[in-house]
Symmetry: C6
Subunit: 231 residues, 6 copies
C-alpha cells in the first residue's frame, strides 16, 4: 500500500506515493524545508483520518504552528484535531517521554516508550525531529540510534526521520537503515541559494532520482516534476 | 510579532524584522562584524524600551564600549541606560553567574541561572557571546549546549548567539537548533577581504537568501539590499 | 569451481562466474542495488538446489519479499522453498543468533554461532547484510570483524558481504580481507544519478575492471557488458 | 590610546597603531617572521620607556639576541636595558615561572604567576612565544589557554601572542579571543616563497585587510603599504 | 649482494635486484597484485634453493595455490617443495604462532616467535601478508609494529611486507622503517583501471622512480621497463 | 659561527653555512635523501676533527655504511675513525641508551641520558634519526618530544633531526621548535619523481627559500644553486 506524502508533486517521484509502514529519512542543511515537508506529511495523514505523532525535540507546538501559519495547507486544523499528537521533548508530557528531569519521569528506555506509544495508539504516521537530538537523548549504551530505528521499523507506522546532513555524498547509519532517503538541497550558488528535492533511495519502488526544483508557495513545498536542476 | 534587528537594511532580508522570542545564530570568521551586529541589536532594543542582557565571555564592558565608539549608533547611551545589563564572565558579577571561583559563587547550573535571570527581569533581547566560550563554561555533563539552547528558546527573549564558524557549508548543532542562521562572510579574495551577509535559515519567514554586501560606516553595519555578492 | 552470481551479465565480468567458497564484498551508496544483487545471488543458489542463508540485520522477511516483488526473478519462490533460511536479527530466531535480549539467547559469540550454523547445515551461499550492523553486533573485543570474516572464509560457503561505502577510492578492512570486491556505483551527475558496476578485485580470476552500465528491469539488475561508463 | 608596533609600515594598516592594553595574535608558518615582528615590538616599547616582558618557551636570550643581530633596529640595546625582562622557560628564572623541576619552583598556577608579574612590575608590553608551548605548560585542568588569555586581557599590558598557524582560513580559540589577528604569510609559489602581512581582525579599528608585501631589510620587517599581494 | 625479485622486468628498476637481508614494503589498493608479486618472490627463492617463509594472516594455503594456478611461474611446485613454509594464522600451526586460542599456544610474543623461527631455520626470504592483520595480532603494548619490523630487519632474511595503502602520497610508519617501498598502482581512469609499478624508495640503490606499466600474463606480473605511465 | 653542512651547494642557500650549536629539522618523504644528507653532515664534521654522534633508531651501522658505499664522500672512513659514535637503538650499547630490555639498562630518562652523553663527550654534531622513532621511545609522560628538543637545543652541539613529513604545508611541533627547517622534496609528476631541496626557515640567516634541484652523484647529494624547480 502506498500513501501520499502530502507534498504537491513529490508522490510522482516515488511511483505514486510512499510505501506504507516504512522508515524514510528526510535530510538537508538548515533552512532546506525539512520541517515543512514533515508538517505536510502529518497534515495529509490527519486529513485521511490517520492517527499521527509528531515528536519534536526542539520546537514547541506553538512555534511550529506559527511557522506553518505562513502556508494554507491546514497544519493548524490538523494540529487542533484529535488525530495528531505533538510531543515536545521539553514540555511536561515530553519530559516523561524523553527522560528529562521532572515529576513523573518514566524510567524505561526511550525506544521502548515510543514503540509502546505507537503500537498502543495505532499511530499510522510518525515524524521524528531530529537525529541530532535523538542521539542526545539516546546517549545510554542500551538505547542506541541503530536499535531505536530498527525497533521503529517493526511497527506499522510510516516514519519520517528528519536528519541533519549537508553533503549529499556523505552518508550516515540512518541512510542505510532507512527504506528511503529524500534529500532537500539548498546550496549556495554564485547568485544565491538553489532549492531542490532528490529521492536518493526508495526500496521496492521505481524511483525518479533526478533533482527537481522546489518552491515554497502558499500551499507549502511544491515539487516541479517536469523540470530538473543540474548542479 | 517581528522586531527590528537594528542593522540598517537587514530587516528587509527577513520580511521586515526578526520574529520575536526566538533564537538566532550570528556566525562568521574573526573580524566579520558579529559583535557589532549584536551591539546594534541591543541598542535598538534599549531605544524601544526593552530590557536587554549582553552576556560576554571574553570582553569587558569598557572594551566593548570603546570598540563601538567608532560608530555613532548610540551603543554608549544604551549601555549607560538602565535597560541594558552587561555581564562579563570575569567581572565580579560575572563570576557568580558563570561559576568562576570567587566569593559568592552560585552553585546551581549555568542554564538555570541564566533562564531565571531572563525570566525574572523580563529580558526581551539577549546576546550570548559566544558558543566557543559557552562550551568552556558548560563542560559539566548536566549542563550542555543543546540543553542550554533548548531552555533559552523557551523564554520570551529574542536571542542572538554569536558563533565561531568559518565555512558556510559546515554546520554545527546550534545551526539546527536555532530558528534562524545569519552568516557574516569575510573571505579572502585575490584583492583583499570581501564582506557580506546571508540569511541561511529563518523559520516562519519569507527569506532572501542572497549574499548582500556589507559596509561598515559611521552608523555601524550597513546591508546593501539592492546588490548581491557572487563568490 | 565457479558459480553463477544470478545477475544477468555479471558473470561475464569475472571469467564466467564467482570462484566458489570465497568471500566477496558488494559495496555502494544507499539505493545502488546491493540488496537486489544479493537477492538474485540467493535465488540462483536455491534454483540450483543449494542451501542458502540470508542474514539481515535490518530487514524483515516480509519487507524484502515485498521489495523484490517488483521483479520477476523468483525471489518469492526461493524464499518460500526449504532451501533458503532468512534470519532477521530482530525476529525471535534472530535474537537468539545475534545476542539481543530475549528468552533463549545463546551466550557463545556470534562468530562461532554463525560458523556452526553454516557448517552443520551445509550452507553453500551466505549473504551478510551488512558490515555497519555487523560491527554493531560485534562490539565485543573477542568478536571482531576481522576475526568474523577470517572464520567465515574458512567455511565452504560462498559469501556476499554487503558493505556501506561511498567512495571507490577509500577502502576498509573488509576490502582487503575479501577475495573479491564489487562496487555498485550510483553517483550524482549534472543530469541525475548514473548507475554502474565495477569489479575492483577478484583473486584467481582474469577480471574486467571497467565500469559497466547497470539497469533495473523486470528480471532485476542487468549488467551491460558491451558498454562502459566513463566518469 | 594607540601605540606603535615598531614595524615600519605596519601601523598604517591599523589606523596609526595598535590600541593599547589589548591582546593580539601574530601567526604564520615557520620562517614567516613572527619572532622578528615581536622583537621589533619590544624594542619600540623599550625605546619609549615602557617596561616589557618577553616570555620565550623555546629560545635562550643569547640565541634571540644573536638572531636579531642581523638587523639594526637595536634589539640588543633594548635587551641590555633594564626595561626589558626576557624570561626563558628553561633558564633558572624561567623554571620557577613555568613550573619546571628546579630549586625554587612556585606551586601556584602559571596564569596567576604571569598576571602577578605583569601587574606588580607595571609591564606595558608582553610577548608570549608561543601558543604551542603555552599549551604544553598549561596542561593542568585548572590552567587552560582560554583562562590564561582571558586573565591576561584584563591586565593593562599590550600583548602579542605568537601562534603557530599555517592556513589563513582555519582559526583556533586564540583568534576569537584576541582583539586583533595579524597573519604573516609565507607561502610556496611556483617560483619560491612569497611573504606578506595581513590584518585579519582588529577590534575598534578602521582596518586595511589587504595582504601587503613584506621585506626583511637591515631595519627588520618592512611592510609595503602601497602594494598588495594577490594569491 | 642483490637477489632477484622473481618479477619479470622489476629487477631492472632497482639496479639489477633487491639488496639482500633487508625489508621492503609492497603496497597498493585491493586487486593491485601485491600477493602475486610476493608469490613470484617466494617462487624465485625456492628455485634458487633458499628457504622461504610465507606468513599469511588471511589466506589458506589451498586458496593461494589455487589463485596462482592461473599463472605458470611455478608457485605450486615451490609450495610443494620443502623449501617453502606457508603459515596460515588460522590453521593449527598458525594458531600456535599467532597466539589464537588453541591447544598448544606459545605464550611468548609474536615478534620473538617469528624472529626465532627465521633464525633457527635459516630463512632467506620472508613474506608477511599483511600490515593490517599484523596490527590486529600485535595489539599488545609490548609487541608493536615498530618493534616487530625493527627486530625482523636485524635477521638475515629479505622481507616483503604487504601493506594496504591507497594513496601514494600518504605514508605510514612501515614506509619509513623499510629499506625500500614499492607501490603497485591500480587507479580508476575514465576508461577503466590502469596498472603500474613504482619504486618510491630503495636505500643503497640507484633507482628508477618512474611509474612503469604492469601486465598480468601467464608468467604472472610483468613490468614494462621501456614504457612509463603518466597520471 | 657557521659550519659547513657537507652537502655540495647547500651552504650557499644559508649564507655560507649552518649557524653552529642549533637544531635543524631535515624532513621529506621516503626516499628523498634525508639519511644521505645527514651522513654527509657527519662526515664533514669528522673531517674537521669534531666529535659526532649519529643516533639511529632503525638502522644498523653496517647497513648505513653499506648504503653510503655507493658514494665517495668518505662516510666509511669517518665511521671508522674515533670521532664518530654511531648508536643503533637495538644494538647492545643502544639498548642501554634507549631503554630497551637488556642487561645494563639505564633507568634515567632518555632526554637526560643523551644530553649527558653530548655534554660529557663534547659532541659537536648530532644526528637524530628520526622523530617517528623518537616518539616511540619517548612515550613516557616525563619525557616528551618538546622537552627532549628543548633540552638538546641548550647543548653546544649542532643537531640534525630527521623528520618524516610529506606535505610542505603541514607543520608539526618540531618545525616550530627548530632553528631551521630543510625540506627535501621528492614528488610524483606526470613523468616520474622530481627531487629538490628547500630551506623553509633558518633563524638569524639571510636565506634563499627557492626550491633548488637535487642530484645524487658519486659525491652524494648535490644542490644546484643556479637553478630552481617550479611545482
Amino acid at each position: 500500500m502506498r500513501i501520499s506524502s502530502g507534498v504537491d508533486g513529490f508522490d510522482d517521484l516515488v511511483d505514486g506515493g510512499l510505501p506504507a509502514g516504512r522508515l524514510y529519512v528526510v535530510c538537508g542543511p538548515p533552512g532546506s524545508g525539512k520541517t515543512t515537508f514533515s508538517s505536510q506529511f502529518v497534515t495529509r495523514g490527519a486529513a485521511s483520518g490517520e492517527r499521527c505523532l509528531f515528536l519534536s525535540m526542539h520546537e514547541t507546538k506553538d512555534d511550529i504552528v506559527e511557522d506553518m501559519s505562513n502556508y494554507e495547507f491546514g497544519f493548524d486544523r490538523a494540529m487542533a484535531s484529535d488525530r495528531v499528537t505533538f510531543l515536545d521533548a521539553f514540555s511536561n508530557d515530553g519530559k516523561r517521554f524523553f527522560g528529562l528531569p521532572g515529576d513523573h519521569h518514566d524510567k524505561s528506555n526511550l525506544t521502548n516508550r515510543i514503540v509502546s506509544f505507537v503500537e498502543s495508539r495505532d499511530i499510522k504516521r510518525l515524524v521524528v525531529d531530529s537525529t541530532m537530538l535523538l542521539r542526545y537523548f539516546l546517549s545510554d549504551d542500551e538505547d542506541t540510534l541503530i536499535g531505536f530505528l530498527s525497533a521503529l521499523k517493526r511497527t506499522d507506522a510510516t516514519i519520517l526521520l528528519i536528519a541533519e546532513m549537508t553533503d549529499p555524498t556523505s552518508y550516515a547509519d540512518e541512510h542505510y537503515l532507512a527504506h528511503g532517503v529524500v534529500f532537500l538541497h539548498n546550496y549556495l550558488e554564485a547568485d544565491g541559494m538553489t532549492r531542490g528535492v532528490q529521492v536518493v533511495k526508495m526500496r521496492g519502488t521505481d524511483v525518479d532520482t533526478d533533482i527537481h526544483p522546489v518552491a515554497f508557495d502558499d500551499d507549502g513545498i511544491h515539487v516541479d516534476v517536469s523540470a530538473t536542476v543540474t548542479r
